[in-house]
């Protein structure tokens, strides 16, 4: 018995401190995450953007070389890094253009192009946007990779808080039925009930979203590992070759990739010399067409001088894990109803954080080791201002 009390004390201590350290950051993440669930809708509402021409289904797509030429002609940056087929806007192509191949890709200009005509639509500066500021706060607090990894650490503490929370849930519920809410009792009792109830009912969702968030903070590192692992392997015979003087056609590179992997569609192209390819290849990244497989990528490397396919492999497990973790974090894979559910569950997570913080401030002793009888006694000595 005393051993179990000792172990309970330990878990309570873990729950208290893991929560306390991460709570303010988790609150920030929950609040900035709310608008991010609807970032497309918010951008559409707040910012004018050129729409692609509406065309009947089956209209052939624009020539990609022409589209890229149109993009470059309209912006000061001249070196294309990536061309992206946005899953949310199938009529639009996104070109990411930098000042040079070595320039920081996160500072690239995004050019929107009409997918059917190849025409330049616009190249908005998104860095002042509300959604951009929320995204930066949410991912790295404007502190780059260290900020990202720090938030990842807070996320790990949050996961520890969740697990220890489940452990300390059981002693506090020994004498209470599931879902007990003592509505006529003082606030501290009511908020304890709310904290327990919301915590235990949403625990799996909160854990999955928390943990996939942690995985996403490691994205930069995962890409680096892939770059020096599989990508280096796939392009090893090119290591000593000079970069091509003239690039072969982008359109034919994509055609070659689509022919080699007919059951998938292009997700994005990494131009030669960017982090997702070698200096000698177009990296054509293909995706599947179910909600799950559309998140998984399979690169086809096409020689940027001869236009010949040189290799194509499925991504290693650590990249696939990262890719699958993204929809599970964003909630963007089941239409508007799923986004609304994500919103409600996010708000409930805020409720857990706020009630938890309140309970800690009200009593320095851990609530979990406090028996129900003790709690009743403790709350009855204070003046009771129940509703």
């Amino acid at each position: 018995m005393s051993a179990s009390i000792k172990s309970l004390r330990r878990w309570s201590w873990i729950h208290k401190w893991s929560s306390l350290i991460c709570t303010l950051f988790m609150l920030m993440l929950c609040i900035t995450g709310l608008p991010l669930i609807f970032h497309e809708e918010i951008d559409e509402l707040l910012h004018e953007q050129m729409e692609a021409a509406s065309v009947p289904p089956g209209t052939p797509k624009a020539n990609l070389d022409q589209a890229i030429a149109n993009a470059i002609a309209n912006v000061p940056e001249k070196v294309p890094h990536f061309l992206v087929w946005d899953r949310h806007e199938p009529d639009v192509l996104l070109a990411s253009i930098g000042t040079s191949l070595d320039s920081d890709p996160t500072k690239n200009r995004f050019v929107r192009l009409d997918a059917h005509t190849g025409a330049f639509l616009d190249a908005p500066d998104v860095t002042g946007r509300f959604t951009y500021i929320m995204l930066k706060l949410h991912t790295d607090m404007f502190a780059g990779l260290p900020g990202k990894l720090f938030l990842g650490l807070m996320g790990i503490l949050f996961c520890v808080a969740i697990v220890s929370g489940v452990v300390v849930y059981s002693p506090s519920m020994r004498k209470l039925r599931f879902g007990t809410y003592r509505g006529s009792r003082p606030r501290i009792v009511r908020w304890l009930d709310v904290h327990n109830l919301v915590g235990i009912t949403t625990v799996l969702w909160v854990f999955v979203v928390g943990f996939t968030g942690v995985l996403n903070t490691w994205a930069d590192l995962v890409i680096k590992i892939w770059q020096f692992g599989q990508l280096a392997e796939m392009t090893s015979q090119y290591r000593d070759r000079p970069a091509p003087v003239r690039l072969s056609s982008l359109q034919s590179a994509v055609d070659v990739a689509m022919k080699a992997i007919p059951d998938m569609e292009p997700a994005f192209v990494a131009f030669p010399g960017t982090i997702f390819s070698s200096k000698n290849h177009y990296g054509v990244f293909m995706r599947g067409n179910t909600p799950l497989t559309s998140r998984l990528l399979k690169p086809a490397l096409v020689d940027a001088e001869t236009g010949v396919l040189t290799d194509s492999r499925s991504m290693p497990w650590y990249v696939s894990t990262l890719l699958i973790s993204q929809p599970l974090h964003f909630g963007d894979y089941g239409g508007m109803p799923l986004k609304i559910i994500w919103t409600i569950l996010d708000i409930l997570t805020i409720v857990i954080l706020v009630t938890g913080l309140y309970l800690w401030m009200k009593r320095s002793r851990s609530l979990a080791v406090l028996s129900n009888a003790e709690l009743t006694a403790a709350s009855s000595v204070k003046p009771v201002l129940s509703r």
Partner: protein, 65 residues
């Protein structure tokens, strides 16, 4: 309030069912669009509905117990 102390099994029965339902909800929408999406919405609503239900029940003036 129950008169006896509950076992771990009793305490975690409903939470465990909820966790399985939630996990199903998270996975269903990944499989396919359409019906699978709808299944996912229903499953992921379960914890929300249960929470609202419990609070509503607890707020009612006490008639029994």
């Amino acid at each position: 309030m129950t008169s006896r102390r509950q076992t771990l099994g009793q305490i975690f029965l409903i939470p465990a069912i909820l966790a399985v339902v939630t996990l199903g909800g998270l996975v269903f929408a990944l499989v396919e669009d359409g019906v699978w999406d709808a299944l996912s919405w229903v499953a992921l609503s379960a914890p929300i509905v249960l929470y609202v239900g419990c609070i509503a029940r607890g707020r009612r003036p006490r008639t029994s117990l």
